[in-house]
Subunit: 191 residues, 2 copies
């Protein structure tokens, strides 16, 4: 019994490894925005100032890297909800957050493709999206309802999915929500 049962020494990752991992994620965000999610892995590695071997040591394959980027962007969008609510009146915070979410969906046309691709790397994305953005929009909605800005009784998740569906088609040029999304938001408003 020379092996400790459950004592798999964790051994903190080396500092350069941690740095490169973060650099790859950041580089992927930049490259995907510039060239789309189909951009070559080599281009991402180059943007990060790293060899392709390093990319594949940190992410088992390209799809996992894409999924990781989507995940971090979902997280960032969720965090933005709290920030906006601290800075702005509830009604405006809701508008601004929807604008941000819309831009997220519209610019990542690759997201829709990823979700239906069946690639196991993207399996957990829908759940993650709902788990993170559901509470975010619920918080915004509740605040706006309390402030008397919008009607109550709207299911946050349904609203989230509806905005997602509507943002998917007719991406507005300037990044603001398209006409159908604005219509939906107006419908939310109390007169």
């Amino acid at each position: 019994m020379s092996v400790e049962p459950a004592a798999v020494a964790p051994r903190r990752p080396r500092s350069d490894a941690a740095h490169n991992s973060a650099a790859l994620l950041a580089a992927a965000r930049v490259v995907f925005a510039r060239s789309g999610v189909d951009a070559p892995a080599r281009e991402i590695a180059a943007e990060a100032g790293v060899g392709v071997g390093t990319l594949y040591r940190h992410f088992p394959n390209r799809a996992e890297l894409v999924a990781a980027v989507f995940t971090t962007e979902i997280d960032a969008t969720a965090v933005a909800a709290t920030e906006l609510l601290n800075e702005l009146p509830p009604g405006e915070a809701l508008d601004r957050w929807v604008e941000r979410f819309t831009r997220f969906v519209a610019t990542k046309q690759g997201l829709s493709a990823a979700l239906i691709s069946g690639d196991p790397a993207f399996e957990s994305l829908p759940a993650h999206l709902i788990a993170k953005l559901g509470p975010a929009i619920r918080m915004l909605l509740d605040a706006a309802v309390d402030a008397g800005d919008v009607r109550s009784g709207v299911d946050p998740i349904q609203l989230l999915q509806a905005i997602g569906d509507l943002s998917h088609r007719a991406p507005s040029a300037d990044g603001s929500p398209n006409a159908m999304v604005r219509l939906l938001l107006d419908g939310l408003r109390l007169r």
Copy 2:
């Protein structure tokens, strides 16, 4: 002026060319069913007993071949509506056609991906789908309404899209419509 103004001699295509074109289309259907729409072009050419050069002379690129297959399958599905209506009572014809349409949508998961891919080769597909299958399901619906089987007032196109959406998820194993589609059809029925 040695050139005749509008007399661009059409010159019928050579018989082997016409034969190979059809063979490629048929081979593509077989290969896509066997290996999915991402199957290599070489595999399709081999199935057709033809070199890859021949494939690319008949179709400018892989996407156009995929689009051509989808188009022919849409056409075949539309034709089936008339055939079923000639053979069966209207209510049953509608059921059987929906089953066929469902199988078409479910097996071609590549279709959904193609439609949102943005590839110009697939631009005309949605219009073609509605143009061909809209009248088909309208004809079936009208016949079933006249026979007193189903309610009137249902928009054929909306029904078509709804069935398509529902078939997309939860593909039933045996190829029959899934539970949600059956529910939708039951809702159509007069008691």
